[in-house]
């Protein structure tokens, strides 16, 4: 029956449903993006797809792998860098820098112990080729870690400690991947020259007080990408050295706190513009890199999660002990019990872990085993929650509950 507008099948009820759907979908998307759900969603789809129809999964993901892993994810790392840059300005967790010294020293233990443990475990499980995965044992997912740390600790000095630890662990991981796993045949001189040119361009733009982020991204960023590609450094890190040149606000709005919509500085503008596209890139990153066929898995798969879930807290104890011996101090209200929980939370390496696995290995059995190991390291979240509950830490503490 035509309605009063002469359209067939568009009753008011249907129009209402359509309108409801139109307004619900963007809201759902916004919710998914703000709650960091797109990466896990990509992971879940990848796991289901590769085990149901592997051929079509690989054809699709191989065709977009370069675009996602070498270009798209650069904006995610740029946003993480933006958080770190802001953390170094007044009010930021990295300001003053000496606050970061103990977590940085602790990160030595928190990376070395799981890396060594991983090597020992995969050797004992008779998968010597998986020893290459020790680099993946250095990774920590800052966003997921921050999410769970806030759930457990609320506003507590343990949260910035975790972030500093995660930044230091990942920085060590990126250095190791760059040193041990150059992306391809390198043209070092050309690459370094191009990188220097990129930094010079960014410095000139800053000196000229260019307020738009676009020249930084399109000129300096592209030059940096080419320079890194030629140097054998993973080009997904192309924007990392460029972001610190972007003019920014005088005070840090807070870690993973969105910039105000009216913010005028280039760094905040960059975040506002790229926040959603970077999350979409993260979705495709999960889709491309987390497709693990269950048949490919061998016992060595357990090496990485075991190394992380046992080695990260133990390594953190060792590293923090070293820091204390060197005369640094733990933050107020952070003791060994809190360090245990921080260790479990920092064991989760989702985005950075998958990135390292993809950077050091081509698709195949070994990468599948490492990627599954990264996914299994998410067991750090329930372990941290249960541990905090058992030890009465953070929001589970009796003082807090009495209040």
């Amino acid at each position: 029956m035509p309605d009063k507008d002469g359209q067939v099948g568009t009753s008011p009820k249907r129009r209402g449903l359509r309108h409801h759907a139109r307004s619900t979908l963007p809201r759902l998307l916004r919710f998914a993006i703000e709650q960091l759900l797109l990466l896990p969603l990509g992971v879940i789809i990848a796991l289901a797809w590769v085990n149901a129809a592997p051929e079509s999964y690989y054809r699709f993901t191989f065709s977009i792998a370069f675009l996602v892993n070498d270009v798209g994810i650069a904006f995610f790392f740029a946003l993480i860098t933006k958080e770190v840059v802001e953390a170094t300005i007044p009010n930021g967790v990295l300001h003053p820098l000496r606050r970061a010294l103990l977590p940085v020293v602790a990160s030595l233990g928190a990376t070395a112990v799981p890396a060594l443990l991983h090597v020992r475990i995969v050797e004992s499980l008779d998968e010597p080729m998986l020893t290459i995965g020790w680099r993946v044992a250095l990774a920590t997912d800052l966003a997921i870690g921050f999410f769970f740390a806030r759930i457990i600790f609320g506003r507590h000095p343990a949260v910035p400690f975790l972030l500093l630890l995660g930044i230091a662990c990942n920085a060590l991981g990126f250095v190791m991947v760059a040193l041990f796993d150059p992306a391809h045949d390198i043209r070092l001189v050309n690459g370094v020259l191009m990188l220097v040119a990129a930094l010079a361009i960014a410095a000139v733009l800053r000196r000229q007080r260019v307020r738009s982020f676009w020249p930084y991204v399109l000129i300096a960023g592209v030059a940096s990408w080419v320079g890194m590609y030629w140097s054998g450094v993973h080009p997904a890190l192309a924007l990392v050295p460029i972001i610190p040149f972007l003019p920014h606000a005088a005070r840090d709005p807070g870690f993973f706190v969105d910039a105000r919509p009216g913010a005028r500085d280039a760094l905040s503008q960059f975040e506002l513009w790229w926040r959603y596209p970077a999350q979409v890139a993260l979705f495709f990153f999960g889709l491309v890199n987390a497709g693990v066929p269950m048949g490919a898995l061998e016992p060595g798969t357990w090496g990485l999660p075991l190394a992380l879930l046992v080695g990260r807290p133990l390594g953190l104890f060792a590293g923090a002990g070293l820091g204390l011996a060197l005369g640094f101090h733990l933050p107020h209200r952070v003791g060994w019990r809190e360090l245990t929980i921080i260790g479990f939370v920092a064991a989760m390496g989702l985005s950075v872990g998958l990135f390292f696995a993809a950077a050091i290995l081509p698709p195949g059995q070994l990468r599948s085993e490492l990627s599954m190991g990264v996914l299994l390291s998410l067991a750090g979240a329930p372990l941290a929650l249960i541990g905090a509950w058992l030890m009465g830490i953070g929001r589970f503490s009796s003082e807090r509950q009495q209040r």
Binding site: P54, E55, Y58, R59, F62, D126, E127, P128, M129, H184, D185, P293, G295, A296, E298, L361, P362, P363, G364, Q365, L366
Partner: protein, 302 residues
Amino acid sequence: MRTVGRALVCVLFVVATAPGTLLGQAQRALPNRPGSVKFAAIGDNGTGEHPQYEIADQMSGLHKVFPFDLVIMLGDNMYGGQQPADFVKKFEMPYAALLSAGVKFQASLGNHDRDENVLYKPFNMNGQRYYSYTRNNVRFFALDSTRMDDKQVAWIDTSLARATEDWKICYFHHPLYSNADRHGASVDLRVRLEPIFVKHGVNVVFSGHDHVYERLKPQKGIYYFVSGAAGQLRRGNMSPAEQTAAYFDQDQSFMVVEIAGSEMYFEAVSRTGRIVDAGTITRQAKAAAAGSPPPEPAGSRR
């Protein structure tokens, strides 16, 4: 006396007809022609345990009547410890008779091998993870399927394009097609390698990884064999599919192959010497290899 004579005749009959006996071996179908390319294929062998030695003994016995001078190793050449003493126990001792007879082993690496095994001289890898070599009119390509990076994919593409030999045989650890339950096909590898194999007219592919024997019906013009039970065994692990031509998952096994002109003869032999599969493949015409399906091998599963 007559009873004893009858008993002797019966015993002789049983011995002569039982699978895996010397008489059974002497009746193998390989033509054993002079000047042909003769080789054996072993996968997932390096356990150092009794079944590996028994397979090696079968290979040595067969070598006396079928003098192959090459063994292609399909990966997982060493399990567990890989110290010098392990190389003795898991390679040099079991294959001592073949090594002393001058048989050359050409290895590819599996996921249980170590990178540095490419330097172990008797594996003849000359420090390379992937390489090629020829025997008469056959070019062999040994690949490292555990780390199939872009560089290796480009290498196999170029090397296959340049190969002028009549036969192109690729071997590596992870199978592009397999119907074993434990691992099955490595589809990620298949998506990357199969178009290259088809484009350049690869004739036959040998793999291991699944601890069974399986012969597949030609896939896009290429014959595939899984032979990953020359030491390890996953008994009863096969779930034969429509693409399975023959299989054996009840005991350890290895393969012997002979290429004479445009024919490739093959046999899969069990730990007890029983021939579990055999047949003949006629070399695909280049057009057929690129498109229309070739015939299934003449021969039989026994």
